[in-house]
């Protein structure tokens, strides 16, 4: 009934060919890749081709009080893009043009639906570099990256999505189009509403265009350092040693034996014969300074007890190891539903946090694989449960909750880069406390008086 109402109102304003209404097709848009997060059934999906289409959707939904849920590629891992019952999903697959790449001003302007890898390739063709490189970069969209403030491998040296977003066009309120931020290198005119929208997971409005900062495209070739370790904690100590050394690597990634085995079983790379835990460091500093950084990384790995540590002299091998890093998540997904953690702790406490993850796995008799942007202190314990085993699922949830609590106790945060969505709401409340959550509600209520933009996500009451 409500759904029919919504559809009729949409049809009055939105061209028919932009609407997806048959239940099977709609169902494919109803959730992201957070397998544990609940989702509802949307009334419809709209696939806009221009900002005016988004305006039409927001106006309609504001009048009816119907939730609007924007969606990129649906690669999110926290349920942020999951449907609410009766909502209208906006999917940006047809707003996927790069509008401007301007190396002189060191910026690019893009529609939200462009795939991260496609966007970065387009920038490269113009001699420019857009650093943010989430592991989902072959699939995820720039719009989704901005909505979640996505991170990636390069962040340890080059920062996250938020560090690159200069300006946004967004549809806000009951359908006004605004421009936030700027095109200039600097600017302090008013509140940083552009930065506020980055990472707001669709709760403040719908982003329809994005202006990002670019870096020069000419980069020194990266040198790779490989370290094999017998234990997670030893690898963690190598990470803490790198932090203490003052070297800022261009990547510092960790993969444990579960990841290595899963990749081997899928792609037959022979990684797990070599190590229990693999640490991959990179330096992109040119010349002698870069050589010195590589030597320091090797030294840090050795001091922490690496069973093998060396600068890779074989670029093919080095690339294969980083490819394995990117394959680890899909390889593990083949083993069963994953509950993905994303805690981030101070760098020096990476060994402590890894020890706590191991303890949680033992305590709750559950399998936890570890991928980590270790140089950031951003860990991704992946809790794997056999499909259909409810008891295992219950244990996994307890391990998840313990890891979140441990990260907060170590002065860390419950989400380093994936966002809160639905899965981490309890953790957000624990981390921020009631006054800061109250500030979130005040901002949300001020900017979304109709309460239609992805309501209940991020800081809504956890329902678990």
């Amino acid at each position: 009934m409500d759904t029919e109402n919504t559809l009729a109102a949409l049809r009055a304003r939105v061209p028919e060919q932009l609407l997806v209404t048959d239940p099977d097709s709609v169902g494919r848009y109803a959730h992201d890749e957070a397998e544990w997060a609940p989702h509802g059934t949307p009334a419809a999906v709209v696939r806009p081709v221009r900002t005016e289409d988004v305006v039409a959707v927001v106006r309609t939904c504001a009048e009816l009080g119907v939730p609007v849920v924007p969606r990129g590629a649906g690669t999110g891992l926290s349920g942020g893009a999951n449907a609410l019952d009766g909502c209208v999903m906006i999917s940006f697959e047809h707003m996927n043009s790069v509008l401007e790449i301007n190396p002189r001003e060191q910026l690019a302007v893009t529609q939200p639906g462009v795939i991260n890898d496609d966007f970065r390739a387009a920038c490269r063709e113009h001699g420019a570099w857009y650093p943010p490189d989430p592991a989902s970069s072959p699939w995820s969209t720039i719009g989704g990256n901005v909505a979640t403030n996505a991170g990636g491998v390069c962040c340890v040296k080059y920062g996250v999505t938020r560090d690159y977003v200069l300006g946004l066009e967004a549809v806000v309120g009951d359908g006004e189009v605004v421009r936030l931020g700027r095109r200039t290198a600097k600017g302090v005119t008013g509140y940083d509403l552009c930065g506020l929208f980055v990472g707001s997971e669709g709760t403040l409005g719908v982003i329809t265009e994005i202006t990002v900062k670019l870096l020069p495209g000419v980069r020194a070739p990266e040198r790779t350092v490989v370290g094999y370790f017998d234990s997670l904690v030893a690898a963690g100590e190598a990470v803490a040693a790198v932090a203490a050394s003052g070297v800022v690597p261009s990547a510092l990634e960790l993969l444990d034996r579960h990841c290595l085995r899963a990749v081997d079983e899928w792609k037959n790379m022979g990684l797990s014969d070599e190590a229990e835990v693999l640490l991959l460091g990179r330096s992109d500093t040119p010349g002698e300074a870069g050589e010195q950084e590589v030597a320091t990384l090797v030294e840090c790995f050795e001091k922490a007890g690496a069973t093998f540590s060396a600068a890779s002299t074989d670029q093919h091998e080095a690339d294969a190891l980083f490819a394995a890093r990117r394959l680890a998540y899909p390889a593990l997904e083949r083993l069963g539903p994953l509950l993905t953690e994303d805690v981030c702790v101070p760098r020096a406490l990476v060994p402590d946090m890894l020890a706590k993850v191991e303890a949680a796995a033992v305590r709750h008799d559950t399998l936890i694989a570890n991928i980590a942007h270790a140089g950031d202190g951003n860990l991704h314990p992946l809790i794997i449960t056999p499909a259909g085993d409810d008891a295992a699922r219950e244990r996994a949830q307890r391990a998840f909750d313990d890891i979140v609590a441990d990260a907060i106790a170590l002065g860390g945060t419950v989400s380093g880069e994936h966002g809160i969505g639905l899965l981490k709401r309890a953790g957000l409340h624990d981390e921020l406390g009631p006054t800061v959550v109250g500030m979130h509600h005040a901002v949300k209520n001020g900017l979304d008086p109709a309460g239609i933009f992805n309501p209940g996500k991020v800081f809504g009451e956890p329902t678990r």
Copy 2:
């Protein structure tokens, strides 16, 4: 009467020795260095020694509905820290301790009243580097830098204050103490309220502690390139050429003949014999890559018609030139009241904007000196009027308004780094438009329901 009320209420909660109430002393806190901005008379000044003192002030003011105006060193150039009649000023001169410098976590924690240069020196002693370096760095405080999102010479390569602020403690609402942001390298838990407070000029709460990111302290020595030009526009073309070259200099500063003469008259440096316009570039890239950058800068300067262009081989001379850059503002202040512009335009449009500044000077028969963080497109036309000449003042105001309008028309912003305060409110309204200004009011009303935090500043109705 109201003042007496406020004083009585403050005395009930704030230790007497923290209060400044005698009119002469209070008067010294009543305004910043924006000589053209109006200011009122505070009821009192409080000089807190701990966060609890700030809580006491905010509670008192929330109960009475009295404005709270936080103040750093009063070096602001837009009137952001100017007193409102009957307000309570909070001056942080006694909350001036650096609390932690942690090179391993690449962060530092400080009270707001620490002077920028003192803070950066303390970081250097720990082998770490805090880049933001506003020209006011010998006097301005970190708290003021954060409140205005201050820029500086290094920003062209290393970004502004906002790029370094990880976390804040603030007193908000009617006296709650909150922690915003984080200590970890990454984090996406909830809205970026920390980033929202940076540059909010005291309108959302009172910042009592600041956590900033640091970079490694070991830096390659900077190489300096000097260019002399016959005209502002030629120097602007050199700036545009540098932007087009893909080189990101570690500094690119412009000084025109008025600045050079003013420095000469004060410090007898002999600069104005050499050039009409001086451009100072720097590269801190180590090794051959840095040498190549220097060669590219020289080439860009020459192509744009420099009368002289060379890499400086004399570090003493290079340092003297950058010292002259820092002296330019106080040297010009000796000539009469300055109306300070701070527009920022796309880099390629720097020559166009400089031409428009020159045209405004001619059209309104007023003296305009130009300092610029040229590599950012951030220009500081300084409009100089003889003291007491009302007609000249009127012409200066018209030139100021024209420059703001020109910057907006070129796709620029009315404030690159000084903030809006009182002087730029009309420009903010013109640049952002009513819907975005409405979003500012919504955020402000949500986070400051009592309306006590520096009310009327930034986006309040311009009264001129």
